[in-house]
Symmetry: C2
Subunit: 165 residues, 2 copies
């Protein structure tokens, strides 16, 4: 669609955008920047990311591999790196729109709870998200996070789908 | 929130808004007019309304009342009047925003199908709706229409909730 932008005639709005490691949320973020955010400036994007919670492992996994503290630390570092990369990528996208203020929130946990809690706490004017499952539950429950947030968040919820190529 | 509006920098956008007889969809329409539609003009609102489908009655209902053609015609007139009132009310709300073009679509059927089919056919840039059940399934399935459309419509879907008073 044609580039359209929001000209805020009053104080800027706070628009929460849920980001994860996938392309779907990046598409939603780009759509939001193109179609919702005011080009005149003043709006703030609150990027919310749910980091995989620290898993609880048995001392030995199914393959008989010892889950030593070194292995656990390595897994956690990887998870944190993935999270950081997702947030950084989203921030870089926003950097192309210097009139937009950006804040980030990263919390560990189920994306459904993280996003809804963040929306409750920050009371944004709008929550924007992609439609496919977030993060580690992506393949299991298509759309479950966006459905959950659409049902449970009190603010307006905008669900943006990435067209199938 | 502060009044914000969308300034379309290119061709106007086509924004579909699902309307029914309830207050929820009116609230969504007003939010859309305040926060999405361009004040500079050029945007078109496509108001979609699902009219109750013509019911199929047995010749005699459970109370033993004969469902004569007169009665059926009366019921249908009432249903059409309710539909017309819902659409008219929405159009009057839009009339306060003369820079917005308005088109209406009324189809009989289940709101989930009517709205999704309309979105498929008209390919709007955005679909806006309230969160509570539409029309005759309102009390039965809270949120089922918006959930269905959020899952099945390809366009971005914005679900606006009416705050509890």
């Amino acid at each position: 669609m044609e580039t359209a932008a929001v000209a805020a005639s009053g104080a800027g709005r706070r628009i929460m955008v849920a980001v994860d490691e996938g392309e779907e949320s990046l598409h939603a973020l780009n759509w939001c920047l193109a179609n919702v955010v005011s080009p005149a400036g003043g709006d703030t994007l609150l990027l919310v990311h749910a980091r995989r919670p620290r898993p609880v492992y048995a001392a030995m996994d199914s393959a008989g591999y010892m889950m030593t503290s070194d292995v656990l630390a390595s897994v956690e570092r990887h998870a944190n790196a993935v999270s950081a990369a997702a947030v950084d990528k989203a921030k870089r996208v926003c950097a192309d729109h210097p009139h937009v203020k950006v804040e980030t929130m990263v919390e560990s946990g189920d994306p459904r709870d993280v996003i809804c809690d963040a929306a409750d706490k920050m009371a944004p004017d709008l929550l924007v998200m992609g439609s496919h499952g977030y993060g580690f539950i992506q393949r299991a429950f298509l759309g479950s996070v966006s459905n959950h947030c659409a049902q449970n968040c009190k603010c307006p919820v905008l669900i943006v789908k990435r067209p199938k190529e």
